[in-house]
Symmetry: C2
Subunit: 672 residues, 2 copies
């Protein structure tokens, strides 16, 4: 070996070296010299061959050596939840699937395992650095560093209890401990992530900012992912999220803001002024129909916009090459200009600009002497890459952005260490990892299958359910003029009027063809004052019963069945999509409701007129509920007495419920 | 072997068989039996193992057997042009690059070679059937059938001369010959493609329709790809393209319409009424910023919408799995609904519905007994596919659409014949193919590099150029009140006024730092009547000269230089993007132009006032041009005489042109 040559650990040569430095240097052919954890030189092949001797020389041939891709936003452990539920609305997906499963399954080991799974995919698809935001972030950091990846790992802080903290104070303590232990790690930058403006409080936010400023670590946050979020924020705080966050001092920190789909020009200027890095997530924003972020405008304003995959549960892979192509495509259609986000600028976003967005461009993002050796070798041998046009210097970028697949990545190096050679992972055992991930998926399948078995368990899964009294005594009589009965309640000696209200009830019955004949009623109950007719309140409730009565007694006035109530905190549309009923019946009615005392026992009396469907009619209902069968039978007797007093023949009692009466009527109307 | 078993050629088993039949059958595990060119059975593995014995049994394990993907729109030979030019406006891309290169390079062998290149990529990415539209379509059909792919190959017919036909009559004759030779081929369905409403004539269209009806073959056409196209069509014909095509009888044919990005509800209903198949091209529509087609509405209206890659020059790969994912993603963001185009429906579009859109669903698109054996085996072993959730029947679709890459396709079979096994192509020799494609790209590179060398050759490439007279005699004198000179032309005995006009000239000079100092002037020349002041005409012209005079004579009134003129049929923006000048100077001026006769020789005399930039001033110009040097010198002498008559000192003559005067002024203004 020539004694004048400088010795380096690795010399990698290839037909193309794409440096992504300030001059956009492309060396054809080129070479990169690496020693220890850093790059010694990147330049023309002949120059480097004449300057360096290497412990190992890798001649990659028809390939590109380039900086590893930088994934600026994700939730790595959610790799374990990919494909769990797709093509759902954000709320159904999040509240119906992700959060219930997370509540039961996410622990430190889950996060470790999920990160290892995500790391395998990232290394194989050319990502060398990622930004993460999840729970048990120390486990994420541990798994990433063992896989050999560079990462900014942010411990999530929310105002709600999370799988790893019962309060945000606990989350902050956890964050502090974690930062103290990991700060200075060669691969991991610890960080905290106040989750999003709509899941935090100003106090929590201020505490998080003072924590990251104390340790000089970055801060990661979701901002303006959906139009709804921004609208809600405006309503609540009189301004969109960005000025609100600015006021709370968030942008004093080295911030990376994920999504920013719905931001205006002023907010973009605020980002620019405070050097807030942006993480643009094309697949996720499309798949969840969040919208298209105004990336071209942000770039014009000088923002550092990186590209991210978001969590693999909403993507569903972790493939930065796919995101690159998508970022360029959607910028073009969003501006209706095919010259928007050309290939070179797109690649820049995924490398050096991404590093800037994560505030770590001093160590990674380009092939320059002194930077950490985070690089990938991408083959140009696939048919997709043929032919090659050399007449423009842009061809190599266009090939990388428009025609390269993750599978073209042959070798991946982070911090001067090979993580993949010839597509073989060197730090992760795939078969065991896949097996463990699938075993866990099996348990989640069982959990969900059990839940899906009954409407009840799905109802319980989304929370707030209370079981109602089992025994129900009810009488329903058709009556042309139920209001004529009213005077009895005010004039009879035997009946005492306690209180009353006028109601307008909009009921939607979701019917299920399960073995219980489950019926889930979604009710909007508008309550008016009986006298003044003022609207007093609107109550939204879910009530789960069954069509099949468990038992019927005597004159059809007593039945026993399970009954579950919950406040309906979400929309009818949500419940429809989440529960997926086989059939739906809508009943609107006007109800005058009286609470009366009869022979010392309280009853509800309803005087109802069904408005929709038309032609169902008007009714008197007397009702009571109890936990005790004996009490139920006693009350059933009392109701019979009350009917006599009201001069109603017991034979006139109708055994069907409104959902049935309306269902029949609905069918008749359709048949006409 | 059990004697009761029926013998078939192939029995393919896998953990998942996705049939894409009317019931969306999924067999886990499943099997498909194939004999000759067709499917004998698809069903549960155990059932098929108990029924059939196979010449060859393939146990694919953790994989999906499914119908091959159907690419409903493309231009296969353009694989040879992929990456030639990207991130350009459609007109610059098409008129500046694609068409000039096609004019010089596209021949029968080019089409054969390009189709083979595209076929290699399609087979390796799971496409078994494609729709094509290009020139020399018989070569496309030949290459596709030799590769073993199924294809509907449409001979393009345009009103313009094409690389394969000097007139549309010739194209129609070519189409008829081609259909007659290929009709009945086991793999190829011949067809014709009247290119698009804006490139055809009603007569051409009617002839094409009667041709396809005569032979009962399908018809392929581009419709409403861009908003501009639709707007232009409305202006010219008073209606959008679809009703116009309907009126001309196009939809009487078995039509496949590509793009349909800008169609309204009425047009969708027309498609539905006539069973027009739609080819949706997500990547191309995004990359060229054409827009997002209203696919969700089309599907609601019951249209058969397939998915296509379009030509690889605007994509840049031919990867149906990528298009699947994109189709679903953009439908969601276009409707702002994450439940739009769920995974199963997306896969349907790429299989059986695509076959319907191409009017060949009787033979392909699903795994059903009697259909041709067009199938692929897709591995589910990649980390991207882990873990697998079985709790919903949709998971297999979601995996295929959201997390599968082209590289997961292990085996491809068309018409009962294996085209790929274990990712090895069986009908195409890749290394030789790549080498030939790259050799051709080298020639195109040389052609373009030579063209790029000079502004002139780029100007010639887009057509219409004529060389102007070489010798130019011109005098320019600053004059505070040039109009005072006017009377001389009307009163002098020596000068005869011939004719005149008033002009307002908006000139943009594109300056190039090439070795000639090329100057390309884009002029909008508004011509007004000298007396009535009515606007008579607006002329758009390009004029290429050089800053460096080839020769200057005498009192700076005579020079020799090359000069090229062309009508400017496109916008200033087009020329700017196409020519990419280093600098630009804008000059607006008012010109009174006189044609006069002086001592028997004609001259132009211009009395100019420069309006922009301000402060340049007013001028008298006297000009003449000639091919002869001797004549030029004679005229130069005459101009000196004329100056004397006008009492202008020869020393006052300004040697600079307007572009220079304005350029200096522009610089001064910027410096202030």
């Amino acid at each position: 070996m020539n004694k004048e040559l400088n010795l380096v650990d690795f010399l990698i040569t290839a037909d193309f070296v794409v440096a992504m430095d300030a001059d956009y240097s492309v060396y054809t052919p080129g070479a990169v010299a690496v020693t220890g954890d850093h790059i010694v030189a990147a330049g023309p092949r002949e120059t480097l061959l004449a300057t360096y001797a290497a412990g190992e020389q890798l001649d990659a041939g028809n390939a590109v050596v380039m900086p590893g891709l930088i994934n600026t936003h994700g939730h790595a452990p959610m790799a374990l939840l990919r494909g769990l539920a797709d093509d759902l609305r954000l709320d159904v997906w999040l509240l119906g699937y992700m959060m219930p499963v997370e509540r039961d399954f996410v622990n430190s080991h889950f996060c470790w395992l999920g990160t290892e799974l995500a790391s395998a995919e990232m290394i194989r698809s050319g990502t060398t650095t990622f930004a993460d935001m999840y729970y048990f972030e120390e486990a994420v950091a541990d798994a990433a560093s063992q896989a050999g990846l560079r990462a900014v790992c942010s411990q999530t802080i929310m105002r709600f209890p999370t799988p790893d903290a019962t309060s945000y104070d606990e989350a902050l303590r956890r964050g502090r401990d974690y930062i103290q232990r990991w700060k200075g790690h060669p691969l991991i930058v610890p960080s905290v992530a106040p989750h999003a403006p709509y899941t935090i409080t100003p106090e929590l936010l201020e505490a998080a900012v003072s924590l990251v400023l104390e340790f000089d670590v970055p801060l990661h946050i979701h901002i303006a992912e959906t139009a709804q979020e921004v609208e809600d924020h405006r309503k609540e705080f009189g301004m969109p999220p960005v000025p609100w966050l600015k006021k709370l001092g968030v942008f004093e920190a080295k911030t990376t803001a994920a999504h920013c789909v719905h931001v205006d020009e002023g907010e973009i200027q605020t980002f620019a002024h405070h050097n807030v890095g942006i993480a643009h997530n094309p697949s996720s924003n499309l798949k969840l129909a969040s919208g298209i972020a105004p990336i071209s405008r942000m770039l014009e304003a000088g923002l550092n916009v990186g590209i991210g995959t978001d969590g693999p549960a909403s993507n569903n892979d972790i493939d930065m090459f796919e995101e690159l192509r998508l970022a360029s495509f959607i910028a073009k259609v969003a501006t209706m200009s095919p010259v928007a986000l050309p290939a070179r600028q797109t690649l820049e976003m995924a490398t050096i600009m991404g590093a800037r967005a994560m505030h770590i461009d001093d160590i990674t993002g380009s092939l320059e002497p002194g930077k950490r050796a985070d690089l990938i070798v991408v083959s140009m041998e696939n048919t997709r890459h043929q032919p090659y046009f050399a007449h423009t210097g842009e061809s190599v970028y266009s090939r990388l952005v428009y025609a390269t697949h993750a599978e073209d990545v042959r070798h991946t190096m982070v911090n001067g260490k090979w993580l993949m050679r010839d597509r073989e992972l060197l730090t992760i055992e795939l078969p065991a990892l896949h097996a463990e991930a699938n075993a866990l998926a099996g348990k989640i399948d069982t959990f969900l299958a059990r839940r899906e078995e009954s409407v009840l368990s799905k109802l319980i899964a989304i929370g707030g359910v209370a079981q109602g009294k089992t025994f129900e005594i009810q009488v329903k009589v058709r009556h042309d003029d139920p209001r004529s009965l009213e005077k009895v309640f005010f004039t009879s000696d035997e009946i005492t009027f306690l209180r009353g209200s006028n109601r307008r009830q909009y009921d939607t019955y979701f019917l299920f063809e399960d073995r219980w004949g489950s019926v889930l009623r979604y009710r909007e109950d508008e309550i008016f004052d009986l006298q003044t007719k003022d609207l007093i309140d609107v109550i939204y409730r879910l009530t789960l019963t069954t069509m099949k009565k468990e038992r019927e007694y005597g004159n059809s006035v007593l039945l026993s069945r399970s009954r579950f109530d919950a406040p309906a905190t979400r929309s009818r549309r949500f419940y429809r999509e989440y529960f997926q009923p086989q059939r739906e019946v809508v009943v609107h009615k006007e109800r005058r409701r009286f609470h009366v005392r009869f022979h010392g026992t309280d009853f509800s009396v309803n005087l109802d007129t069904v408005l929709e469907p038309e032609g169902v009619g008007s009714f008197l209902e007397v009702k009571s509920r109890t936990w005790s069968q004996q009490d139920a039978e006693r009350k059933a007797g009392l109701i019979c007495n009350m009917l006599e007093l009201l001069e109603i023949d017991e034979g006139a009692v109708i055994k069907r419920e409104y959902v049935e009466l309306a269902g029949v009527r609905q069918q008749e109307q359709q048949d006409q």
